[in-house]
Symmetry: C2
Subunit: 498 residues, 2 copies
């Protein structure tokens, strides 16, 4: 394809994308297909000779696009929705045209420096301590692919730091702390590194957030047994229910035991809300800023920036360099040798890295602080509408305190005779089975998407709001559907006969 053919195909791509977004809310959220649908319809080997691009682009629209799940759909309420903005798409488009692996400053000076700048802008947007700024010269931040990567990097750095300070401790004695509500990224980091993991309880009474006393008891127990907890993954806004660990108590506890335990804060989803001062106390920002060794939030979840754009800040960049720097001759540069530039290859697991800062810069400038705040508050307001609907319902109850734009609920109908919720009389298992059936019904629909979770044994359904296109009418619509499917579930499961 030559430059003029690219111009033509590029215009067409832009037009097609416009059409897609005009049409998006009329499409199903997810396709009605079975595993294997696509492989069957494609040849089993690449063509011998190249094909005309028009044919390929047409096939994309005919064969691939209808098989996608549309995460930016206004009725997508599953997992946490992914961000999607035109500014980020344009940022990625421009970045694609200047490909470079960005592993050191020289590989593309502007790519490294723009990343340094936008990470500082973001730290300020989220009101993080100046300790985390790249301009501090000590701490700093880098873009990563996902929160799992960020957590893995934090755990690797924590292990390296701990082993440096305690060279005689065998890895078998070292433990990663997570909670029963920590995202699987905590367990996966431990699995990847082959270290023990201890899951601390986050109780229903504490609204699924870790308390200081639970941590203190575990630390005492493990230390008494000769074990070495070296990192705790604390969460602001868990995936299951948006719970927040009591970071204030956690920091008090960690300070009082003084055992060199790294505190990583995973705020993959909820961190974006730190752009709004009214959530600072809720998120324990003061304690994070005082003590946390590392902090992560994902711009590609709630931060208006298309996947991938995870952020990781550390209070001391040396911890990353100590843990991750391998420099053969072919990777040396004058600037790296002189220490005058950040070589981001030492701030992550791989070597090459994308020019992701461009889309972040586009988004930060196009939306400004006000744009982030407005978006967060709009989604929280939409969730408040949903919460009001649930609270007024005879069918549904909330299972956990709603968190920002996330609600967790279940079917727990009021008994028409007694006027009491059925959870008073039914067994936990029976109610779980009922809700599994409700979720199955909801999952079989292609016009909305909600995912499930289990909160300390209680099966429930999540409603996560995050699409820029979601409006009040979509909340009304999904609530109506949930009620219809609830009624149908009660009938099918013969609960209505009682």
């Amino acid at each position: 394809m030559d430059i003029e053919q690219f111009r033509k195909a590029g215009y067409q791509a832009i037009d097609n994308i416009c059409d897609h977004f005009y049409n998006l809310q009329n499409l199903p959220v997810r396709p009605d297909v079975e595993p294997g649908f696509l492989a069957k319809s494609l040849p089993d080997a690449p063509p011998e000779k190249g094909e005309d691009f028009q044919l390929i682009a047409d096939d994309y629209h005919k064969v691939i696009l209808p098989g996608m799940t549309y995460w930016p759909h206004p009725s997508f309420f599953g997992y946490f929705p992914t961000a999607c903005t035109f500014e980020a798409i344009l940022g990625d488009l421009y970045a694609s045209s200047v490909p470079n692996p960005g592993f050191n400053w020289a590989a593309s000076p502007a790519a490294t420096e723009l990343e340094m700048v936008v990470m500082d802008w973001l730290a300020k947007l989220f009101h993080l301590s100046p300790d985390f700024l790249n301009s501090s010269g000590i701490g700093g931040g880098a873009l990563q692919t996902t929160a799992s990567d960020s957590a893995l990097i934090a755990v690797v750095a924590a292990r390296s730091k701990y082993q440096k300070n305690h060279p005689d401790i065998p890895i078998e004695k070292m433990i990663v702390y997570v909670t029963s509500q920590t995202h699987s990224l905590g367990a996966k980091a431990a699995l990847v590194l082959g270290v023990q993991v201890r899951t601390l309880e986050a109780t229903t009474e504490d609204d699924f957030g870790l308390r200081g006393a639970t941590l203190a008891a575990a630390l005492k127990e493990d230390i008494d047994m000769g074990l070495h907890p070296f990192v705790l993954v604390g969460t602001v806004g868990t995936t299951s229910s948006g719970a927040v660990d009591n970071i204030t108590e956690i920091v008090q506890t960690l300070k009082s035991v003084d055992r060199d335990v790294w505190l990583h804060i995973d705020a993959a989803w909820a961190g974006i809300a730190l752009s709004c001062p009214e959530y600072h106390d809720w998120a324990h920002l003061k304690a994070i800023n005082e003590y946390a060794h590392s902090f992560c939030t994902n711009l590609h979840k709630w931060g208006l920036t298309n996947f991938d754009a995870s952020t990781l800040w550390v209070r001391n960049r040396r911890w990353l360099n100590d843990a991750l720097d391998v420099t053969p001759e072919f990777l040396r540069t004058a600037q790296g040798d002189a220490g005058t530039a950040i070589d981001y290859r030492n701030w992550h697991l791989a070597l090459g890295r994308k020019f992701r800062s461009l889309k972040v810069w586009f988004v930060l400038r196009a939306y400004g602080t006000e744009g982030f705040q407005k978006m967060v508050r709009r989604h929280v307001n939409l969730n408040e509408k949903f919460i009001d609907l649930v609270k007024s319902s005879n069918l549904l109850t909330l299972v956990a305190t709603p968190s920002l734009s996330l609600s967790v609920f279940r079917l727990d109908p009021v008994d028409t005779t007694s006027g009491e919720r059925r959870s008073r009389s039914a067994t936990a298992d029976a109610l779980n089975t009922l809700n599994v059936q409700l979720h199955k019904r909801l999952s079989s629909r292609s016009d909305v998407w909600l995912t499930q979770t289990s909160l300390n044994g209680t099966f429930c359904v999540r409603l996560a709001i995050g699409s820029t296109n979601t409006e009040e009418k979509h909340i009304d619509h999904v609530f109506k559907l949930i009620c219809e499917e609830s009624e149908a579930t009660l009938k099918a499961e013969k609960w209505l006969k009682d």
Copy 2:
């Protein structure tokens, strides 16, 4: 930005990218800037209110673009050049418009299935064993971000497999094998996992490739000491000189000792040449297909696909699932539970992953097998031209056998009196110093880029050809510049007085 504003900004982006590529060869390869140049010219915080996109796009062209190193420049000969094709840019553009984190089949069925399909197409393009095909139901392949990621995943899976088969072996007794020529990805994987690494010698006499006897001796020594080598990272096409480990001998050795050692093949750069049958023996493809546990090549290096697009195949997908599967309730799906679909989250370190298969599909269809072969052969031919020029030169000599499109050379002038190369009379240190100076001079130029390496103590300069825009005239030009800078170096270092 609304849809019509996006259309306008999108057309403009396409036009600007066209302008950039029309102008590319007139631009310097790399910018003449010092660390800190960009941060100084940007505000130190994001704007309070959003800005007009035209202003942002203009600033990109004024401030950011001139600070980039242009890897697709025809005179970029450093590291390994990164691939850049319009088809891949378009693939990424379309993929950006359907953002999804792709961690399981349901997250976007077409994204998972297209990845399964293109990985099989690629396996066939590179003539890998059918064992590695997704359609085998046993082995399979997935797109990863980089070769470092691929190697780290392979090492994690190898460790998991070894520990499963040998549950009593402590991690302190386990060793990763790399060679003195393995990319830093081997050492970095070991560093990340906190396991020992042993560097096997790849001698100058063996053209920097590992031999079976060296491996056999190391295995015997380590096994006798009670250590457990569990993975060897073998390389087809090292970064320093494009060397190839003698995989045939390595496989013979591993089979004869029968110690459950995982063989990972890192063919990050050279693997693309497997599209041409004439390189199969050179790359020891038969031995790879017979024995290797995992194989990686990077489409974003020589494979016509923009960063990132690394590939990783394994002979048994269970090894990945065993090593990397963590499934909390909120990640369960009907298809995952039923085992009818691949959940790619268990095939890499993170959870979320990009929809990278689209650009790969675009590229494979637009170029076909012929397009890959033509591109590889064209670059190899250009390198042959360069080799001829070096061989006819009184200034330069080759340090290693040239490999595909990579040559490694140094300044080693013929003494006009004796008619012999100066390396016969000068010390190794003196000649190294001379070449460090030559490379410094070359590095201070902005019209070409070549990077350096050290081959068992011999400092040398690399010329790696890989841009789709590089033509004969650029080879002539870079050779002329190298000769000029060589003459200048000899004068400045007072070698010409002798």
